[in-house]
Symmetry: none
Subunit: 137 residues, 2 copies
DNA sequence: TAAAAATACTCCATAGGTATTTTAT
DNA sequence: ATAAAATACCTATGGAGTATTTTTA
């Protein structure tokens, strides 16, 4: 289980195909294919329905994407711990209900504690709805 | 940033020293030392106060341990998704006629295929009627 | 002075790339 | 017929081990 695999999985969910995700994360399609295969092998179950092209997330896949988002988000947060320069302005982000009820509150508290001058706005919605909002700016 | 580094970090926090953590995660002390060094290099700040022996978590280190716990916990959760037993019991849900004729049949088929032990009951009705049923339990 | 961590080096596992084949639309 | 994923093969990066040196309690 590697963070890079989770980032890839999230990218696939957000961009709709292995190839598009490859482009998004700056790797080749075959690398993405292998990452997912290895992840599936390690977990012991499939994440995609391969009878479709591009492969479609199955229900366990969808579930896993949510957890992957948690992990990737936390990593991003961690990566920003170094820059002490205080953030200002407004941050808007979306979260699926599972995340909202899960890690978001605590993450929000941490974020607020570290950046008192940052105004935070949270949108709730399902993955595809959020993706739409992002596309629309 | 690697999951293994976060596991190691948590182990150090829990066991009190690099050497003890090495033992806990089944690696050598030098491997632990390198993992932490690489993590610190990537993040751009130190996690430990080296003037103590064993090194002591500094305040950023303590903060990071919390995030590391989030990540490690989520990974453990993910690893257990495979052994998730099938849903049992009864699921009752309502659908408006349009949905009943549209996406419901296929969704139902999928759901039945994935959870053979789940009994599914469907109520038909208009939105406000269904809302009433939900309120009434 | 005795622990624990850091360093130097070596080896090997594996992630990713290129090229190709397979598959679903 | 075409676009996308899977597969095969190769290379190089870096993670972990052993042995040793440095450090602080």
């Amino acid at each position: 289980m590697e963070i890079r695999q989770f980032k890839t999985l999230v990218a696939i969910a957000d961009f709709g195909s292995f190839a598009a995700a490859a482009d998004a994360v700056g790797l080749t399609q075959s690398a993405i294919s292998l990452q997912i295969k290895n992840l599936e092998d390690e977990l012991g179950f499939e994440l995609f329905d391969r009878r479709h092209r591009p492969p479609m997330l199955n229900n366990k896949g969808v579930l896993l994407v949510e957890h992957a988002r948690t992990i990737v988000t936390t990593c991003d947060l961690v990566a920003r711990l170094g820059s002490n320069d205080d953030l200002k302005g407004t941050l808007t982000f979306g979260a699926v209900p599972t995340a909202l009820a899960g890690i978001v509150p605590e993450a929000l508290a941490t974020l607020r504690a570290q950046h008192p001058n940052l105004h935070i706005s949270v949108k709730s919605g399902l993955s595809f709805e959020l993706a739409g909002l992002v596309r629309g700016g």
